[in-house]
Amino acid sequence: MRRTLSFLLTLLVLLAFSYQWEAWPGFFKPMKNSAMGGTYVTTAEGIESLLLNPALFEAGGAVGSNLNLSENVATIAPKLFELLKDPNKITQLATDTEFLSAVRGVHSYGLDLYGGYGTNLVWASVGGLGAFQTELFWKLSLTNLNQVELGAWASYFGMLGGSVKLTKDLKIGLSVGFGMAGTLIPATGTSYPATVDVTNQSSLTAVLPDVSQLFRYIDTPFFVFNVGALYRWNDLSLGVAFHYNSKDILRNGPTQVLSAGVSYDLKILKLAFEMEDILNAQKSFYRKMNLGLESNFGFLKLYAGLHAGWLTGGLKLDVPFFNVAFSTYVVEFSPNAGLMGERKYTLSFSTRF
């Protein structure tokens, strides 16, 4: 008993970090799950379920990409393209108030690439997945330019796993993986993100990587482990999933996420509710709560949801062999609902076979 309490206490201490990251090496949510309020325990599907809840894994293959853009993309992208064409325009950006307002606050951009295949093997479904992830993050206040937070990371990993039906209604799944991760900004050091003084060029250059050797910084090995269970009773599903990362570079330590959920399938409409990251003592009750809704019109799938109180939504065009999807959702960086949300848009392309 004492050992269990000690383990839980250690777990809570390890979970005590400033930012509540929602994606990290070895863990990200596909577009559908982001659009459905971040629910995944009973709603993950395809090869991607090896990442989230392997009990939902079924034979099949997929290759896909998610381009995750911050809400300020429409404002800053044209200006940055102009800057690329003419680097001298950087002085204009310094007095461009629209640009300055758009970059203020907390923002992130990311890319996920993945592919995998699975098949039925005797009494189990087994498969493998490979993925590459990268993300750029910043937090900026115009009155504190000497304390700008800046970070970028990348990782690649492989994962093997499968699911098995224990009884008519109960499935369990397991996936294990290994990969490499590293922070590109700061190029050296262990604290992520880096705090820099952007008015001091040496402070800024000290954290930037050598662009010609970016892959050299992806040098930290990590081990991931997912285990999940799903119980189906008619149209009702109950699930639980546990994720473990042995060396999460964003938190400089191990990461554990335990989530539980329930969903009800009305055929045309699927409703899901879940509590994400239950063991995290920093997060409030409302912050952990996710609600999702999925309606299937054949070639068109619509999603909506509520993630930590933020409305989310998306749609997917599902034509044979090819899916194009768009979602809007919010990443909540704070342990409380509604305080530090960043509206994001994801453009997703995938093919299933």
Binding site: E71, V106, S141, Y286, A308, G338
Partner: protein, 307 residues
């Protein structure tokens, strides 16, 4: 399922998808109430900082003010904190408390968050001010790009007369909200006099302080705003007659002892900020009686800057 049900479901889902683009959180108020009633000071301070970064300025203001409230024993209720800027008397009391507060790390951090959130919420922050100022300076022929900063002096004054109405309109809009300006002045004064890196806070304090003085001088009906004043409207429509109009317009300080005291307080703050910024300027000695008795705006300008 019938076609009508499909249609309703489809429309509902599309509506939810469209709604999801709105930056609205269903739980934010509940979460804020929980933090204000049962959060520790550290939790509230961290949450205030998070809310500021997340552009939830109402929450940032309430949480930062709750830390100041607790540390300075102001006795503000949760309901008042949640709608702080709606109560001019509370804003004024808070500003008074901040300017005379004993500095601690918690209070300093909370004031930094509070003033930044208030400035952003009321659109008086650096980016918004620059957004108004930069086009005016460009119209006046001043190029702000560092490599080519220049102005032609003869053109400048000709352009200035042409754009005086635009300039006054911008200043009036910026310097609406008297008690907000008082809070921003007091907050940045507290930061400038207690923080190690004090140049930017001193600049901002000076700016809001001048705005506060401008407001006191022009606001005749003491409603806190200057855009509704006849003098301001007249100058905007007829900028060339600014001197004649100021000879006739009644000063907001005339026969108003409280405003005169506030004006002198703001004037003293400006002196201190100019010292911090190493700006040499000649300041006259002001007293309440002189300001109280000067009837017109031009009389006040003559008192401040000489005939």
């Amino acid at each position: 399922m019938k076609g009508r049900s499909w249609l309703i479901l489809c429309l509902t889902t599309i509506t939810l998808v469209l709604l999801s683009s709105c930056a609205f959180n269903l739980f934010a108020n509940l979460e804020l109430r929980n933090l204000l009633t049962s959060g520790t000071l550290e939790q509230r301070l961290e949450a205030a900082s998070n809310a500021l970064s997340g552009r939830n300025y109402d929450a940032a203001i309430a949480l930062a003010a709750s830390v100041i409230n607790k540390k300075l024993n102001l006795g503000l209720t949760v309901e008042v904190l949640e709608k702080l800027l709606d109560s001019t008397s509370t804003v004024y009391d808070l500003a008074q408390a901040i300017q005379s507060a004993t500095v601690t790390e918690d209070v300093l951090d909370a004031v930094k968050i509070l003033v930044e959130a208030v400035a952003l919420k009321t659109e008086k922050d650096i980016a918004n001010l620059a957004h108004g100022v930069i086009p005016i300076l460009q119209e006046l022929g001043i190029d702000l790009t560092p490599s080519r900063s220049k102005s032609n002096s003869s053109d400048f004054w000709a352009q200035f007369e042409t754009y005086a109405g635009t300039i006054v309109k911008f200043l009036a809009e910026t310097f609406d909200g008297r008690y907000t300006l008082k809070l921003l002045t007091s907050g940045y004064y507290f930061i400038a006099t207690n923080a190690t890196d004090n140049t930017l806070p001193a600049v901002l304090c000076s700016l809001y302080d001048i705005g506060y003085m401008f407001n006191l001088l022009l606001d005749l009906n003491d409603d806190g705003n200057v855009t509704d004043e006849k003098f301001v409207k007249d100058v905007i429509t007829n900028p060339a007659s600014i001197v004649e109009l100021s000879e006739e317009a009644t000063s907001g300080l005339y026969n108003d002892a409280k405003d005169c005291e506030e004006f002198i307080w703001a004037y003293e703050i400006l002196k201190e900020m100019f010292d911090i910024l190493s700006i040499s300027a000649t300041f006259t000695t002001l007293d309440t009686t002189t300001l109280y008795e000067k009837e017109h705006i031009l009389d006040i300008f003559n008192t401040l800057f000489g005939e």
